[in-house]
Amino acid sequence: MTAIDPTAHLTAEQIEELGRELDAIRDEVIADRGEKDAAYIRKVISAQRKLELVSRGVLLFSIFPPAWIIGTAGLSVAKIMDNMEIGHNILHGQWDWMRDPKIHSTTWEWDHVSPADQWKHSHNELHHTYTNVIGKDNDLGYGIMRVDEDQKWHPFHLGQPLWNFLNACFFEYGIAAYDLELGKNLHKRRRKNPEFRARAKAVGRKIRKQVLKDYVIHPLLSGPSFLPTLAATFTANLVRNIWTHSVIMCGHFPEGVQVFERRSIKGETRGQWYLRQMMGSANISGSRAMHFMTGNLSHQIEHHLFPDLPSNRYAEVAVKVRALFEKYELEYVTGPLPKQVFSAWHKVFRLSLPNRKPKVKTPDREKELVAA
C-alpha cells in the first residue's frame, strides 16, 4: 500500500471517460471474436487431453527413471493447462459465446478438488465483483493471511509465511476449503446448515474421485510401477499447486497493488469499478509460453477489466490498456515472475509482524466525492 491515493489526481469526469474507453476496447474484441478464437480453445483442449493421455501412458512404466521424469513433467504441464488456460477461463464464461455445450461454463468440470460450481461462486462472483475490498473479497489473504497494513494484526499472523507455504503445496484443497468458507462454517451452529452440508458433501465426492484416480487407480494400473506412479501423480499435483499459487499471488499481492475499504464501493460507477480493477491487480511480464502456462493470468489487469473476454485476446488488449494507464498517469504494476513472486512473499513476511497504523488510509472514494 502506498501512502498516497494514486488515483487522487483524477476527476470524476476523467474516471467516467476512462470507463468509456475501456468499454470501447471490450466492444472491439467482441465484434471481432470468431472462428480463430474457437479454433484456439479447441486446439488447446485437444492438446491438453493428448498430453495427459501420453503422460499417463508413459507413467505406466514409471519404474524406469526416464519414464518417471518424462511422465511426471508431462502430467504436471497437463494439469496446469487444465486448471489455468482451460478450466479457469471456461468457468469464467469466456467461451460461452461459442454455444458448444461441451465447452461451456455450465457444463465444464476440472481436474481440481473444488467443484466447478462452488468455485464459480466464490471466484467469479465474489472475488471479481469485490476485487480487493477488505472484508468483501476473501481472496485478499484467503482468510488466513494479512496482506495489507490496514488489516488488524493478530498473533496468528506470525505464522503466516508457514500457512502460505502450506497453502501453496496443497493449494487445490485450500481453494476447496476457501470456496466452502470452512473457517466461518465450522462453528457448531453453521455446521448443521443443510445448504453448507450439501456443499461440503459435493466437495467430499469430488475429493474422493480425484484421490481415487490419482493415488489408487492409476498406480494400480501401473502394476509393478505402483509406487513410482503414486509418487509421480503426487509430484504433478504438487508442481501444479505451487505454480498456480505463485501465479495467483502475483495477481493481487505484489507491492504497488491497492486495497479498498468496504465503504469506498458504495454507489460505485462503472468507471470507478474499472479503476478499482486497474489499481487492484498486477501483471507478470514474460514470454508467450509463460503467458500460456499462467492461463494468461499474467495479464491479470486485463483479465480483471474484462473477465469474460477470451484469454487468447488479453495480450493484444494489454497494449491498449497500458496506453490508458499512461494517459491517466496510473501505475501499471508488472514485472517478471521471480520479481513478482518475491514481492508478494516479501509482503507476506512483512505483514506477519504488526505495523504502526498507516498515516493515510486506503482510497475512500465516498469521502473524496463529498469533498469534491
Binding site: 487431453r49 471479481h128 487407480i217 492409476h218
Partner: protein
C-alpha cells in the same frame, strides 16, 4: 453377470480413470463418428447446384438410424465460431449404397448458416446432427397418381421422395424465378426423358407467381392425385384453400419451412415459462430485475455481466445486450445473461 452388466461395470471403472472427464471426451479425439458418440457427421463434399444452392454430402456417425424419404434433419454448424442449428430436408434416397446422406441448401439473403454451407463449408468439417424427423413422408401403400407441387427450395424434400420411390404416374409442378434457378434441373430432365416424371416448370420472373387456379390447366386431374406440396407460405396457403374448396383436402400433404421471424424491438411482453408468469418489460430494464419484481425465482450473481451466475435459457423471442446493443435470438440451447439483457420484443425465459 450378464455381458451388459459387465460392460457397464467396465465403463464405470473407465470413468474413474478419466474423471472429471468422461471416457468419451478422449475417444472423441480419435473417433468422433463412432457408435455411442454424440451424433455427428462429417462433410465429405459440397456440390454446387445453382448459383445459390449446393448439395452437402455428409457421412453420418454410427448412431445414425436412417431416414424416411421427405424427412428433415437438424444440423449444428459452427459459423464464425458460434454453433447454430438449422433444419434441412434430406435429398438423398434412403437406400444410398455408401451410407452417406445429402442435404441441399439454398443460400437465403442474410442467412448465416445457409450462406456458410453453400459458400464456405469445407470437406472434412465435423457437424452436429439430430436424428431425422418430420411427417412429410410417403404412405406405405403406393398411390396410383402423384402430384408434387413445389417452389424454390421446397423442392428439396420432394427430391428425396423422387429419388427414393418410383410411382407409375407422377406429375411435378415446380416454380423458380428462372430456368437456371431450378435446383436439380438436369436430374429432373433426365427423369422426364426416362418417362419417370412429367414436369411443368413455372418461371416466375417471366410467367409471374403461380395462380393456383391455373392448376386446372397444368394438371387437369390434380384432384385425383395424392399431392405433396412444399414452398413459401403463400403457395401453401393457396393450395390448402383450393384443395378444401374442392373437398379433397385429405389428399394434400404440406411441409412448411418455418423461418424464425423475430421482430427485434424495444421491450415487450416477457413470459417466464417455468413459473407461468407474464409481464410487460421495457427495453432498458434487465430481465433479472423484471423477473425478480414479478416474484420469479431468478438465479443471480454479480449483476454486472461478469460472473455468468445468472444465465438462463431463452426459449423464444429476442433480447438485447445492454452493454453492446447486440441482439440475441432464441434458438434451442441459447443461454442469456439476464442481468445485462433486456427484452427486445416479446420473449420467453425459462424460469
Amino acid at each position: 453377470m450378464t455381458s451388459a452388466a459387465l460392460r457397464s461395470r467396465a465403463w464405470k471403472l473407465l470413468e474413474m480413470v478419466t474423471t472429471p472427464l468422461l471416457p468419451s471426451d478422449y475417444l472423441d479425439l480419435v473417433s468422433p463418428l463412432r457408435a455411442g458418440a454424440d451424433l455427428r457427421g462429417r462433410i465429405e463434399a459440397v456440390h454446387p447446384e445453382t448459383g445459390d444452392a449446393a448439395t452437402i454430402v455428409i457421412r453420418p456417425g454410427r448412431g445414425w438410424r436412417g431416414h424416411t424419404a421427405g424427412q428433415y434433419v437438424r444440423i449444428g454448424v459452427d459459423v464464425d465460431g458460434v454453433r447454430l442449428w438449422r433444419a434441412y430436408s434430406i435429398t438423398s434416397p434412403t437406400n444410398r449404397q455408401d451410407g452417406r446422406v445429402t442435404i441441399t441448401v439454398k443460400a437465403i439473403p442474410d442467412g448465416k448458416v445457409s450462406n456458410h454451407l453453400v459458400r464456405r463449408a469445407k470437406p472434412g468439417t465435423l457437424i452436429q446432427l439430430d436424428l431425422p424427423t418430420g411427417d412429410f413422408v410417403l404412405p406405405q401403400a403406393k398411390p396410383a397418381k402423384v402430384l408434387y407441387l413445389t417452389a424454390g427450395s421446397g423442392i428439396t424434400p420432394v427430391m428425396g421422395m423422387l429419388r427414393d420411390t418410383e410411382f407409375d404416374d407422377v406429375v411435378m409442378v415446380h416454380c423458380a424465378p428462372r430456368p437456371q434457378d431450378v435446383i436439380f434441373r438436369n436430374e429432373l430432365h433426365d427423369m422426364v426423358a426416362d418417362k419417370k416424371l412429367r414436369l411443368t416448370e413455372v418461371h416466375t420472373d417471366t410467367d409471374g407467381m403461380l395462380d393456383i387456379a391455373r392448376l386446372d390447366g397444368l394438371v387437369p386431374d390434380w384432384a385425383e392425385r395424392e399431392t405433396w406440396a412444399c414452398g413459401p407460405a403463400g403457395l401453401l396457403d393457396a393450395a390448402e384453400e383450393h384443395w378444401s374448396e374442392h373437398g379433397v383436402q385429405e389428399r394434400l400433404h404440406t411441409e412448411r419451412f418455418r423461418p424464425s421471424i423475430v421482430v427485434a424491438g424495444d421491450g415487450g411482453e416477457v413470459t417466464f415459462s417455468a413459473t407461468g408468469k407474464t409481464v410487460d418489460a421495457d427495453g432498458a430494464t434487465p430481465l433479472l430485475d423484471i423477473g425478480e419484481e414479478a416474484g420469479v425465482l431468478m438465479p443471480s450473481g454479480c449483476r454486472m455481466g461478469i460472473c455468468f451466475g445468472c444465465i438462463t435459457p431463452l426459449k423464444a423471442g429476442a433480447v438485447r445486450d445492454l452493454r453492446t446493443g447486440e441482439i440475441t435470438e432464441a434458438e434451442p440451447g441459447v443461454l442469456i445473461q439476464t442481468c445485462v439483457s433486456a427484452a427486445a420484443g416479446p420473449c420467453d425465459i425459462e424460469r
